[in-house]
């Protein structure tokens, strides 16, 4: 039974922070390399359990390039004890890591189709590996549109990289913010409001969505209005985790466990529970 789990499924392996970048006041990106042995591969959308020694363990998505085998990259916001301890780690310091766990974005199913990637706030982090994959296999996919919403222009994650991507002719990126001052010339409004403006061909498009749950609800409604079938919409769901192995039930979401059936889930498979509050 345990053979199906990664080698470090139960006990964290030691990793070293090789670089820390402060993205915003309370958001940091950590680059990690294994203190010994080889780094496992991961699929875009998967997460690791990061352990801050003596504090605790939390689920954090991989946000780096799946093509870069040498390191794991994670972007995290300091919200409580564990995430704050992790966000404070500096180059040279150690942490524990189990993983990678969970399901990934449908990179194979989407070959030959258009993609619309919709991210809200830090939800861009779990989608960035999908984007790296798409861009390094660009010829395998149709049109790629990224719709990204965040609170304020100063909260745009991966700003330099987004500026670089925006110069590409084979990628459309639209950014919207909830509030802005007059110096901002882009969109203001919520990210689902960008959906009707994106020329989506519903028969031939997959949507990958990640962000706060309220934002995902409105986004799914917008995608359904645009004609997308539920089986073409994928969401990354978040629930607090403990074992990450489908054993403890902490991450239960209706009849499913987010740690093993998710975090990336096809909307038609969670349609009923998604519509129910407080699950």
């Amino acid at each position: 039974m345990t053979a199906a789990f990664p080698a470090n499924a139960f006990v964290p392996t030691a990793y070293r922070v090789i670089r820390q970048r402060r993205e915003m006041r309370d958001v940091a990106t950590l680059e990690l390399s294994a203190a010994a042995g080889e780094l496992p591969t991961f699929a875009p959308g998967q997460f690791n359990m990061l352990y801050a020694f003596g504090v605790g363990e939390v689920a954090i998505s991989v946000s780096g390039d799946p093509g870069n085998r040498g390191r794991f990259v994670h972007t995290l916001r300091a919200v409580g004890a564990v995430s704050t301890a992790l966000a404070r780690l500096e180059a040279g310091q150690m942490l524990g890591l189990r993983g990678p766990f969970g399901t990934g974005w449908p990179m194979t199913a989407a070959v030959g189709s258009d993609l619309v990637i919709i991210a809200g706030g830090l939800g861009l982090a779990p989608l960035r590996p999908a984007l790296y994959h798409l861009l390094s296999h660009r010829a395998d996919y149709g049109g790629i549109t990224v719709l990204y919403g965040t609170r304020h222009p100063r909260d745009i994650l991966y700003r330099r990289e987004i500026e670089r991507w925006r110069r590409r002719l084979d990628l459309d990126i639209e950014i919207t913010v909830d509030h802005a001052d007059r110096a901002w010339h882009g969109h203001v409004g919520v990210v689902p409001a960008l959906i009707p403006r994106a020329a989506i061909d519903p028969e031939n498009t997959f949507a990958l969505v990640c962000g706060p749950e309220a934002m995902m609800r409105f986004t799914v409604a917008g995608l359904r209005d645009a004609g997308l079938a539920p089986e073409r919409i994928y969401l990354s769901m978040e629930r607090n985790m403990k074992c990450a192995l489908g054993l403890c039930g902490r991450c239960q979401f209706g009849p499913t466990f987010i740690c093993k059936d998710g975090p990336v889930m096809r909307f038609d498979r969670i349609l009923q529970i998604f519509a129910t509050r407080e699950i």
Binding site: G120, L122, A180, D181, R182, V190, P192, A193, P212, A214
Partner: protein, 154 residues
């Protein structure tokens, strides 16, 4: 030059509007152009004209005393600008500024209100188009108020 009724007919907002009704509406319409940076209207002005944006981008702003203006929404091609023309006292509640060169069809509010009053079929067709726009904006505003991108419970 393109006739106003054919310009209106191309707009998704007026899609499937009967040609006779479209003619009546275009009788209240005129072409408008706003340079980048110019104001289309200011808070407190009479809401005597509303706009169907053809190209460009418009920022909706609110000003609190002693503070810099806050942009709370932007509108673009195909969007309707302005609802206050529909409800008394017909005054704008915010400023609207063209962020870039913006072309729009301006519709004389008093003229259209009069025509809708005289022809309730036209009035109902108009309401069927306006109401979903405003309901969608209400929902979007609710999501915006939730301020979902911060720390939970903050």
């Amino acid at each position: 030059m393109e006739g106003l009724d054919s310009i209106l007919a191309e707009q998704p907002f007026f899609a499937a509007l009967e040609p006779e009704l479209s003619k009546i509406v275009s009788g209240c319409a005129r072409n408008r152009r706003f340079d980048a940076g110019s104001y289309i209207f200011h808070e407190g002005d009479d809401a005597d004209e509303f706009y169907l944006i053809r190209h460009g981008r418009v920022a909706l702003e609110m000003v609190a005393p002693g503070q810099a203006p806050v942009v709370f929404n932007t509108l673009g091609s195909g969007d309707i600008l302005g609802a206050s023309w529909l409800v008394p006292p017909y005054k704008w509640m915010f400023d609207a500024r063209a962020v870039e060169l913006t072309r729009a069809v301006g519709i004389d509010a008093k003229c259209l209100r009069g025509k809708c009053e005289a022809d309730h079929h036209l009035g109902y067709e108009m309401m069927k188009r306006f109401l979903p726009v405003f309901v969608r904006r209400l929902h979007a505003t609710r999501l915006q108020i939730l301020d979902v991108y911060g720390k939970r419970g903050k």
